[in-house]
């Protein structure tokens, strides 16, 4: 059953997506102010996979929907409007595109179908205690031993590592080389001996990320993507996908809709001061979506992602934060409570959304780092002489 979604009329396409989402998405996945765990998202994920809809952006030949940019945006938009929470997507949004571009034929054939079917859940082993913004300072090492690599070191802030089946790891393969030059990109099963995970509780009270300890972890030689010591190219390409993912209007759109629901239910649209503020935020999101579409369009027509993609990440994350702050303001005393509260009949969790929007300016390259990139690589401003 091969439908050519791109040939469909947009209205019909949207109706088809909307119908499926409203009919099939479990209520527990709707309007959640936190990252979903696998056990919560599983039913929904498997339904998406069965329908062939788990990887809307991937080419059809790799098990994706092969949507063009307009359809992709419409697809995501229907999910957002229904309030569908983000499911575990690191394999789909980050590793998948990387393998499609840099993976060997065997790697593509092995991993992509498993990712699309949610058989494998990936986590991202980049950051280390001493290597956050300065990722290239990473110290985890990989040494060659016969037909294996032996990995030693520690990762941190690894999102949902406690439920992942696999991890991709940046590790140093040439300790002599210049910072970026001696790094390689590895794939490992989480059940490999030597890997231990310790969950870390967030400010919001959820165990959302982890420390991952790598102690003499032996992985097969072929579990490397790209060339030995060629990992930095991969790391950067993946960060580009990550920035595109986090620069998508999704999070901002979701919280804007919650703000709107709260405001409608409590009659705030009668207040011109509120309307002015809401309009400003709405246009912030609308223009983000338009800018996102421009980038995505460029990608489809074969341009590679330039440093300008930082625009999306900054504007998307900061707009979402402005919106959740407006939610907190509107919630007044109720903004201090944990969990959803009643706002004139609308059930909304302003504090949860506020927390959830905080790390958007930290992960995937902080807002400060993105601004540094734009200042140097795009605007061409000189480096500080201090």
């Amino acid at each position: 059953m091969n439908i050519d979604y791109n040939a469909m009329d947009e209205r019909a396409f949207r109706e088809m997506v909307r119908d499926f989402v409203w009919r099939e998405c479990p209520p527990g996945m709707i309007h959640q102010a936190r990252r979903m765990r696998w056990r919560e998202a599983k039913d929904w994920c498997l339904k998406l996979a069965a329908k062939g809809w788990s990887a809307p952006a991937w080419p059809v030949e790799h098990g994706g929907m092969g949507l063009n940019i307009d359809k992709l945006i419409a697809f995501q938009d229907e999910f957002d409007r229904a309030g569908v929470a983000r499911h575990p997507d690191i394999g789909l949004s980050m590793l998948g595109p990387l393998l499609i571009r840099f993976g060997s034929a065997q790697q593509k054939a092995h991993y992509l179908p498993r990712i699309a079917a949610f058989e494998d859940l990936w986590c991202q082993g980049y950051s280390e205690p001493g290597a956050g913004s300065d990722l290239a300072a990473l110290r985890t090492s990989a040494t060659s031993d016969g037909d294996h690599w032996v990995i030693d070191g520690q990762k941190i802030w690894t999102t949902l590592a406690q439920e992942a089946t696999d991890i991709f790891i940046l590790a140093r393969t040439d300790p002599q080389a210049r910072k970026q030059a001696g790094i390689s990109f590895f794939l490992a099963r989480m059940n490999t001996p030597g890997i231990t995970v310790r969950p870390i509780r967030t400010l919001a009270g959820d165990e959302e990320f982890c420390e991952v300890f790598l102690d003499q972890v032996r992985i097969p030689k072929h579990n490397i993507v790209g060339a030995v010591n060629g990992g930095w190219t991969m790391a950067k390409a993946l960060l580009g996908f990550e920035r595109l993912l986090h620069g998508s209007p999704k999070l901002a759109q979701m919280v804007l809709l919650r703000l709107e629901a709260m405001a409608r239910a409590t009659g705030r649209f009668a207040d011109p001061v509120f309307v002015e503020m809401f309009t400003r935020l709405s246009l912030d999101v609308a223009d983000l979506a338009a800018t996102y579409a421009r980038f995505a369009d460029g990608l489809k027509s074969g341009l590679s992602l330039g440093p300008e993609v930082s625009i999306l990440k900054i504007w998307g994350a900061e707009t979402a934060q402005r919106i959740t702050e407006a939610m907190l303001d509107m919630a007044e005393e109720q903004g201090a409570s944990r969990g959803a509260g009643d706002f004139g009949g609308a059930q909304v969790d302003p504090l949860g959304h506020y927390f959830l929007s905080r790390p958007g300016t930290i992960y995937g390259g902080s807002s400060e780092i993105q601004r540094n990139i734009l200042a140097k690589a795009v605007l061409g401003l000189p480096s500080s002489s201090l």
């Binding site: 950051s127 001493g130 956050g132 913004s133 300065d134 300072a137 941190i156 802030w157 870390i200 509780r201 967030t202 400010l203 009270g205 990320f209 934060q321 702050e325 907190l328 303001d329 919630a331 007044e332 005393e333 109720q334 903004g335 201090a336 409570s337 944990r338 969990g339 509260g341 504090l351 506020y354 905080r358 790390p359 300016t361 930290i362 992960y363 902080s366 807002s367 400060e368 601004r371 540094n372 500080s384 201090l386």
Partner: protein, 379 residues
């Protein structure tokens, strides 16, 4: 840092002894342990605070209190904020005990004040009709006199610690104003909610509650004034705690900026972070000024409108400042700032609660405008 006008000696001593107690009894580990209990605070530490006289700062000396002023209240709560202490000090000693002390002349007065001051009971205040309500014009519960009793009805929102309390003062609308009553025992909790900082807050329903005439603390001739007075006093304390919380969160962040290294340098050497830090330093100094001004005005015995405007100015400034500081301190910490393990989280969560308690910034700016602008007087 430039300092404020020198504090009087007794206040400096109060601060020092408070800081010393909190250092010993209320470090981050102790706070963490307390907020994870059902109560959300430590009853043991609460008792120790009472023994130090903290529950009786404003009570007259002949009622066993310390007979101190609002500047002293602000100083104490400033220290309490720096430690992120979760105990219901402002609730019991300022909302409840002050309502009883200012209103009650009858037989209830001595025993209730003694129990409150001793730290033997936790009590709360119920009054609020709706979110954003700031005073006696928006009281939720109501009461009618029938024979030798009062019949209460209606609801009150956001009563702190109500589900953990052993008594409460309830403000109710009566025929000719607002009256205050003392209600012994567990409050009639409708819904109890856990807040960001581990404390709790409940909505209450007074439908079907009957009280004897001896439960009356203050009748309609003084009830509204007393209610507005204690609310403003507690707001002064909350503003002081917010200032303390913001200062400590900021200090922790400055420490992090000096020690955390990336790209071969302390992250505090990056100008983007330096400028952000300086902006918050400025905001904190403004908040300190607003707080000191409000305390001074209250100590001069200002009339209700003058007091209300100054307290609202301080609460708006301290609330917004603390929330902005909290937000950017998370950012400047990086991922570690988003964890519960980092002590910063204790400060952020408490700021998120106190900045809304007894009115968030916008409600207080509206009140300021109503008191200062709409009455035609220039700011």
């Amino acid at each position: 840092m430039f300092t404020s006008i020198a504090e009087p000696e007794h206040r400096r001593q109060l601060r020092d002894s408070a800081a010393d107690f909190l250092r010993r009894r209320c470090d981050a580990k102790a706070v963490r342990a307390a907020i994870e209990t059902v109560d959300g605070f430590s009853r043991e530490r609460w008792k120790a605070m009472a023994d130090l006289g903290w529950t009786a700062l404003l009570l007259p000396e002949k009622a066993g209190g310390l007979g101190l002023g609002f500047g002293d209240v602000a100083a104490l709560h400033h220290e309490v904020g720096k430690a992120a202490a979760p105990e219901p000090l402002a609730v019991v000693s300022l909302l409840v005990a002050q309502a009883v002390a200012r209103g009650c002349e009858g037989a209830l007065r001595e025993p209730v004040l003694n129990r409150l001051a001793s730290g033997d009971v936790i009590a709360t205040l119920a009054w609020q009709a709706a979110p954003g309500a700031l005073g006696s014009d928006r009281v939720g519960p109501h009461a009618v006199r029938s024979g030798s009793s009062w019949r209460l009805a209606g609801r009150a929102l956001f009563a702190p610690f109500a589900a953990r309390a052993d008594g409460l003062v309830v403000a109710a609308r009566v025929a000719s104003g607002v009256a205050l009553f003392w209600l012994d025992g567990a409050p009639p909790v409708l819904e109890d909610r856990r807040l960001a900082d581990g404390s709790t807050q409940a909505s209450l329903s007074f439908d079907g509650v009957h009280l004897g005439t001896d439960a009356l603390i203050a009748g309609p001739e003084s009830g509204a004034d007393i209610l507005d007075g204690v609310l403003d006093t507690a707001r002064l304390a909350a503003s002081a705690e917010l200032l303390g919380l913001a200062e400590r969160a900021f200090a922790m962040t400055m420490e992090h900026l000096k020690t955390r290294r990336q790209f071969g340098a302390p992250i505090g050497s990056f100008q983007a972070l330096q400028h952000r830090a300086v902006d918050h330093y400025i905001r904190i100094e403004l908040a300190r000024s607003a707080l000191e001004r409000a305390a001074r005005v209250m100590d001069c015995g200002a009339a209700a409108a003058e007091r209300g405007a100054e307290v609202s100015a301080a609460k708006a400034r301290c609330g917004d400042t603390a929330r902005d500081v909290a937000r950017d301190c998370i950012q400047m910490h990086g991922a570690i700032g988003y964890t519960a393990e980092c002590d910063l989280s204790l400060y952020v969560n408490r700021i998120l609660v106190l900045s809304t308690w007894l009115g968030a910034a916008r409600a207080h700016r509206d009140r300021w405008a109503a008191l200062r602008l709409r009455s035609g007087e220039a700011a």
